[in-house]
Every structure is written in C-alpha cells, then in structure tokens.
Amino acid sequence: MRFQLIGVNHKSAPLEVRERLAIPEKRLPDVCRDLTAFPGIEEGMVISTCNRVEVITHTVNGTADLRGFLHNYFHVEPDELDPHLYEFRAKDAVRHVFRVAASLDSMVVGEAQILGQVKEAYATARAVGAVRGQLDQLFSRAFAVAKRVRTETAVGSSSVSIASVAVELAKKIFGTLQGKNVFIVGAGKMSELAARHLMAHGCASIFVANRTYERAIGLAQKFNGQAIKFEDLYSTCDRADIVITSTGAPHAIFRREHGEQFLARRKNRPMFFIDIAVPRDVSPDMAKLDGIFTYDIDDLQQVVTSHVADRRKEAESAEAIIAAEVEKFEARSHTLDVVPTIVSLQDHLETIRQAEIDRVRGRMGQLTPEQEIAIEALTRGIINKVMHTPITTLKSAARESEATTVVDVVRRLFNLQGKPQVSAAQSDGSEVTQEVAPKNEVGTRR
C-alpha cells in the first residue's frame, strides 16, 4: 500500500497548466522509464488526457519526491505548478485511482472514455516494465471496480450531450432509427454533429438544404446524401422523419400550415423537428399538431441538464461502492503483506535446523539411514509445532488493522530483516540466510 499519486485535473488546474503538463502518447513509455529510475520509486505509470495528468507510483518507503520529478521533467518552477497539484498516498491514492477509472472524477461524470484512456496508460507502462506487482494489482482492481460501478449504478446510462439526447428522443418516437430519413436545413457544425449521431444509429439517408446551394452539396457529399434547393424545401421535407434545422433566418421557416401539409402528405406519420437555431426556425404552434414533435435548443439543454443531475445522484451510490472496494483492497493488500514475513520466518528456522543437524552429525559421525530419518522427523516436528501459532496469528492479523504491528513484532522477535512486502520477498530470504549464520555461531558457543 505504499502508493503515491500526484497530478492535476480539470478541477485543480486551468487549461494552461494542463497543457504544459500534457504528455504526447508516443513519449509515454519514456516517461514511465524515467519515473521508475527516479529515486524512491519502484513502479510508476502516467495518465495523460486532456482533463488530467497524473503520476501514479509505488514507492520504496512510502514517500518519494514526486513533485521534484514533475519539476525536473517539465522544467517548471515549483511555485508555478505546486498550487495546482494534488497528492494522495496509500488508501487515498487507491480511492482516487478507483474514482478516476469509474469516471467519478471526470468533468462529465460517468463518461465512458476515461476508462479506455486509463487502460491504455496502464498497458503502455506495463509494456515497458514500469508496472509490476503492486500497480498491477491496483489497476486490475480499479478496472473491476469501474465495471461494477457501470453495471450497478446508472451513472453512465443517460445521454449528456445535445446530439445524443436528440438521438435518444428520436428513438422514443420512432423506436428503431433504421430506415428513417434525416433532413438538415441550414448547414452548420451542430446540425452536422447531430446528423452524424443519427446516421450512426441507423438512419437511412440524408437530405441537405441550405441558402447557399454549394454548401448543401458539400455537406450532402460528406454523408452520401442528397442536396436539395432551398426553394424545394417545403415540397420535399415530408420525406424526412427527422428534421434538424439551424438556419440564420430571423423568422420561423416552419409554421403550422407547413406542418399540416407535411402530415397530410405523410398520412400522419410522426415527424421530429430538432430546432437548434436561435431565433427558432420552427414556430411554437407547430408543436400543437398531433404527430409533430419539436425540440428547440433550450428543450434539449433542459434534458441534458436533468440527465447530468441524475448522474450526480447515481454518483452517490457509486461513491459508496468505491468506499467499500477501497476497504476490501486495503484488507487484501495486508493479507499479502504477511506472506513474505511467513516465508522469511520459515526460511529462518529451516536454516537453524539445518545448521544444528550438521553440527550433531559432526559430533556423532556417520549416521544410519534410520537415524537420519528419525532426526529429520524430530527436528521438523519441533519446528512445525513452534511455528504453528505465529503463522496462524500472522494470517488472522492480516485482515485486521493491527497487521503491521504484529508483523513488526514477529520480525523483531526473530530478528528478520527487510521490509514486509511481496516483491521483496526473494531478497528478504537471502538477507535472512546471511543474518542466520552469525546467530548460529552464537548458538554453537553456548
């Protein structure tokens, strides 16, 4: 649990700061390598998106000068950067990583992109060997938590952009969008975006009408659609089920009488007008017609706003999941913490046993195979009996908060060296053997 995290996000830092810290994708592997080479850092990875830059590490002794790393790497003055930085350690760092992956820390809470970005960052760091045991465990858990949040809460289920709300509404009216036709009136960025969304959901074809015919042709070509002369607007518009309108006209261009005409020609099949023009292109009395649904920019924005509020509500239950998962993760990592201590303990006693047997053998000369077996069984039996209680205590303490104390006590009692952690288990073992030799000599003298 010696995680340490430092970073900036959309809340802590203005865009200018985030821009300076942003790391291009192709440089990410190098940053990860530099990070692991930095003093006090064992493992490290970097997440860099347009809304956040974060350095996540597992340190050697719980603290590393991550600020120093950032200052060095980006060549920025401390007083320029530091006010915008946040820093988390241990449990707080775990919670932050979980929240980021679950998209609770995002600008648009619940957006799905961030998880993919975190996964990419993780894969990059892993590929260069900067992520191993500890961060590996942290992030595989974070991905599982993110998935849990997504399935158990509705935090990412409602649409929160104008274009996706338009699609959602169209689906409420038409069911499937397969085979539906879209009419763009007035070529603009917004209408193009909405049209793109609708086409992605299966709409069949697109018509484009614009005051300047050339622009209509240009946009129609993008979608493989058909450009319509503005004069023919009213005579062709009924062919469309969904009309996206965003002209600069000072007055409404679709009025009640047009709606009546359209409906008559369409045998009353419903029509959906998405009016993103200001002032509005569709007159309000159109909405009074049965079978015509109009949503202007304010209506759409209202839906978006309420969805955002819904997401906030859902985010609360998501936070509860995260809190529980952080506790679980912490408990589990403690369970892992005692394993190296147990291994050291076993190694330690085994070395003593071997040394003692050798000593006895030297004094008694050649032993018969039966004697060998008997001594082996006797010594092993004693050791196992002696070790039983400490090991059980260690294992059960692992799930409690006092784990570290128990581990410390055991280490001090048996004079075990090294830090209690997984990746260092191997080196722990060797240190113990070196340690054991002089102790044995003490034993012989006695």
């Binding site: 409420k172 419903p270 049965d290 839906v303």
Partner: protein, 269 residues
C-alpha cells in the same frame, strides 16, 4: 372445480393488476418480470378452468360468466403474443385491469344464465362465441394501445426530461401494436357477427334489426370499420384514433350489456 382454477388464475392476475398501477408511476425491470410470470401462471390455471367448463357440457359454456372468462383469457393471449413480438409488457397497464375485472366477475360464483332458446347449430354457436370474443380481445388491446399512445405523446410533448425514462415503448411501436391488433381483430369481429346471424337465422328464421343487441352490434362493427379505414386511408392516430377506439369500446360494452335487454340474443334468467 373450474371455478377453483379460475380463482387461482384471478390471484395471479392480481399481481398483474398491481403491476399495472405501479408501472404508471415508476419502472421496474424485476417487477415486470414477476408480473409476466404471474400472468403466464394465471393463464395456465385459466386454461384448465376453461377446459373443464368445456368438458362439462354445452349448456354451461354459454353462460355470461364463462363468456367473460373466455374474453379475459383471449385478451391475455393477445397480450402474450404482443410480448413475444415486441418484448414489452406495457400494454399490461390496460390489459391487466380489464382481464382482472372480467375474471373477477366470472369468478364470483356459479351463475349459469343460460340460453333458454334451443339452439340447433351448436357448432355455429361456438364459432360465433370464439370469433366475436377474439374480436373483442383485439379491440381491448387496440384501445389500450391508443391510450398508451396518448400518454407517450403527452410525455414527449411536455418535454419534461424527468419523464423521459419510462416504461413505455417508443411511440411508433405502440402505434404498431394498436394498428396490428385492430387489423387482426376486424376479420374476427366480422366473421363473429356473420356466424351470429347464421345462428339467429337458423333459430328464429329471421333477424330483428331493431333488437337492441343487433343494433348495437352493428353500430360497433361500423365504428370499428371506420376506425380501420381512417387509419389505413389517412393514418389517423393519437387523439383521433383514441376517440374512435373509445367509441368502439363503448359500443362493444353497450352491445354486451344489451344481452340483458335483447329478445333474440337471450341469456334470459
């Protein structure tokens, strides 16, 4: 025994009824599944009940209560067919209360109100009953769909974003359910009236067009036809369709109530 099974069915439909009320205010995936299973179980009991009635003899079969029971069963069948096609339980909001009411009335007790007149063509009579009730069931469903259409239309027009997540399927899907039930019901209704006329002719040798039952049945059929026609010809839906559907259902109810006044279509007591 048939009554006992029917009461079991009623208990199951009750869950459906509760669902119908709950679904109006909020949507629950789990509850709609429970309601669906309860309704399916209810249909099994109901079917057993109907089979027993049928096996018990021709005369009982033509009682008012058994008629209501049969109508309820056919409505449920339509509901299930729609569920199979569209994967939506929302017509249940209308169908469940109607079915519950019909089953409830039928399950109150034995009340064998019988056709006193001797009927010579039993086959025709059975055909008449089944056809006309299938027509009724389709009508009930179409009526339900038109109400749901209005509800969904209002939700969409009100632009209240909170009501966007709802149990209702898309407007066009509701429309299709209503229209298809309408189309399907029409031939049944027509053939039902024809077979009924045949029974009347063979029994009495004439048809009294001034008899309230006959008059109202004809009126219902005409409105039904107008409804199908306006829909087919100019795509009437929404308010106008709901208005026509309501009118047809009222006519149908009146025609049903006329049983008690009719001299020809007699369930005389």
């Amino acid at each position: 025994m048939s009554l006992l099974w029917l009461r079991f069915a009623l208990a199951c439909y009750f869950i459906g009824l509760v669902y119908a009320f709950v679904a109006l205010s909020r949507t629950s995936e789990l509850f709609s599944r429970i309601a669906l299973h309860a309704a399916s179980l209810g249909m099994v009991f109901h079917f057993v009940s109907l089979v027993e009635v049928f096996l018990s003899g021709q005369v009982v079969w033509v009682s008012v209560h058994n008629g209501e029971s049969l109508l309820a069963f056919l409505s449920m069948t339509f509901f299930m067919v729609i569920y199979a096609v569209y994967q939506t339980t929302s017509p249940g909001v209308v169908v469940f209360p109607v079915v519950f009411f019909l089953t409830f009335v039928a399950a109150i007790g034995e009340q064998p109100v019988l056709l006193t007149q001797f009927v010579s063509h039993k086959g025709w009579l059975i055909a008449h009953i089944i056809l006309i009730f299938t027509g009724y069931a389709a009508l009930v469903l179409s009526f339900g769909a038109s109400l749901l259409y209005l509800l969904q239309e209002r939700r969409l027009k009100s632009k209240k974003p909170t009501s966007m997540i709802s149990f209702l399927p898309a407007l066009e899907v509701i429309d299709q359910i209503g229209y298809r039930s309408l189309l399907l019901g029409f031939p049944f209704m027509t053939l039902g009236l024809i077979t009924g006329s045949v029974v009347a002719l063979t029994t009495y040798g004439r048809i009294d067009f001034l008899d309230p039952k006959i008059l109202l049945s004809l009126l219902m059929w005409v409105v039904y036809m107008v409804m199908v026609f306006t829909r087919w010809n100019s795509g009437w839906r929404g308010r106008r369709a709901a208005f026509l559907a309501t009118f047809t259902v009222v006519a149908a109810l009146a025609a049903w109530a006329a049983n008690y006044f009719s001299a020809m279509h007699r369930f005389a007591s």
